[in-house]
Chain length 339, copies 2
């Protein structure tokens, strides 16, 4: 029986803000397996801000997404057919299956496919708290910010998939956790459901001075660690409020993903406050994943790590859901259900 | 016998560029010593860019210089009178004596006064390669940039007191050492006398594109470590040319010392190139000084660490010499001879 695969390709690069015109949905037969390959049927596709960067052709940390090729992306699913001894039909697996219903994976390639246990943890969580998202939060907090008990840790995009985990892990380390998010609904979620100590609604502050006032209220003892997802004025304000020897984990600068100039207003603060500012990419620290997943898994299974998913239905909804993610329309982890 | 002390006070804070009007020279009797105190006659006063920051009232890493008080600054000299058992008349000492001929020092305070050996090393060197200047270079290079053999290290203000040491220490670690300096004469000195591999004359490049071209030629394999003394367009260009996992030691941003806005154009590079950018102040790492001075002392005594001094004659010349330093008119370490 030949399976028909639906796939979404990148067909043009955006100039500025991307549109659905940059994508095309096509159908293609799934090829037969050769030895060492595994056929995976995807249950969920992960949508993430880094994908915007890959749509550009310029220099970035990730290879640009090729044109007329299937959009890359993290997936969870089940093994439909296997010609690799390590994988059996029915196994739940996570991998980089891309924006499509099925993927044929050379399962010997390192980290290509990982079997996951869904006894205590739902499959979709392996794309959020138990996947790249959760490990990103863990790594930036643990290895770069390295907060001490009693310190103040702030995170932008706090209601997002990464930000929410950062704050909860900071609380677990006896820190004051403060979020920055857009709108009262997201801020209420960050404080009431995720348990942050405070959340600043950046949409209520149109200028630096006003934002600084709100930060001062939310962070009365200053800021020791900043997990940066946004950049621009929010980063500028946080830097002014940072304590001596503060640490900034640079995880994302979504405010500049469409090519807008996004300068840092006061880099002199790095010197005068003796800050450490460090960029990182989770996939370059694979040796740390087991330690991260141990803590994240224990908290997830115990139900103490809260998270929320925004689920779009069907592959064809992926482009719109992705554009919404870039505008902050999602609430928590943005997934696409493919089954 | 009463000694008359000449002193230079800060009498007003500059709005923008400082002028000689911000300073006043006065005369005052040296008070008699009490137990635990030492009277030092200064031979040399050190002039340093950080003093510009202290002239401002705003938040900075250093306490602002008080108005109508003697300007602070590093000095070397000899003990004229001692009521402290650790110091004897005639001892050569280094301390923070300030812009004046004599200082009365509470010698028990930690790091207030340090006896130095002038058998193989000239006294003035304890204000440059064997003092804060040399240890600043050593610390930023060794502890923040931590270069591996074969890597490329660049330093701005390369003909300056700190920059010259950075490059020579980088060469001693088998790195490619590249300087940035203003004008062909300084660049020739950096390459021909200090032994850097290349030096970019920033004055020959009025825009970012042109500067980038010169950096590409001077750093064909990219840049792994940047010791930053200047900020602004030079930093922007260096960041674009930096390799993945590059390190930036933030030592100074002299381009912004007069209050001009000095944004960093592309902070997104910290993320995309996974850079580490870290500010530091040499006086906060006293535990590292002995290790630093051991290497610096061996090189200085052996004559393998080259340095140059610009010596202004007499205390009254200090304000003009300081203003010249801020404009880059000095060549090597700026000192004032007080004897």
């Amino acid at each position: 029986m030949t399976l028909v695969n639906q796939q979404i390709l990148l067909v043009s690069r955006p100039l500025g803000e991307p549109t659905t015109e940059n994508f095309r949905l096509i159908e293609q037969d799934v090829p037969p397996l050769v030895d060492g390959q595994v056929l995976v049927r995807h249950h969920y596709l992960s949508l993430d801000p880094y994908m915007r960067g890959r749509m550009n052709d310029g220099r970035s940390y990730a290879t640009p997404q090729a044109l007329d090729a299937v959009m890359g992306g993290g997936t969870v699913g089940e093994v439909l057919e296997s010609r690799h001894p390590k994988f059996r039909v029915g196994d739940h697996v996570t991998g980089m299956g891309g924006w499509q219903h099925y993927s044929v994976v050379d399962a010997s390639a390192p980290s290509a496919l990982r079997t996951v246990d869904t006894t205590h943890i739902p499959l979709s969580a392996y794309l959020s708290v138990m996947g790249m998202t959760g490990v990103t939060a863990w790594l930036g907090l643990t290895d770069i910010i390295a907060p001490k008990a009693g310190e103040t840790v702030i995170v932008s995009a706090a209601s997002g998939a990464v930000g929410g985990v950062v704050g909860q892990l900071a609380k677990a380390r006896s820190c004051r956790a403060v979020g920055v998010a857009g709108g009262p609904e997201k801020c209420a979620y960050v404080v009431d459901e995720l348990g942050f100590d405070a959340c600043v609604d950046y949409k209520a502050h149109s200028d630096l001075r006003s934002l600084l006032g709100a930060l001062k209220q939310a962070c009365p003892d200053g800021i020791d660690g900043n997990f940066e997802n946004v950049g621009g004025m929010i980063l500028d304000a946080i830097m002014i409020r940072m304590n001596d020897f503060g640490r900034i984990a640079m995880c994302g600068m979504i405010a500049g993903y469409n090519g807008e100039p996004l300068p840092m207003a006061h880099p002199g603060l790095i010197l005068s406050s003796r800050l450490k500012v460090q960029g990182f990419i989770v996939s370059e620290h694979l040796a740390r994943w087991p330690t991260a997943l141990q803590e994240l898994g224990a908290m997830t299974a115990a139900g103490t790590l809260k998270y929320r998913e925004s689920i779009a239905e069907g592959l064809s909804s992926a482009p719109d859901a992705f554009l919404g993610l870039l505008k902050g329309l999602n609430f928590g982890k943005q997934l696409v259900r493919l089954t």
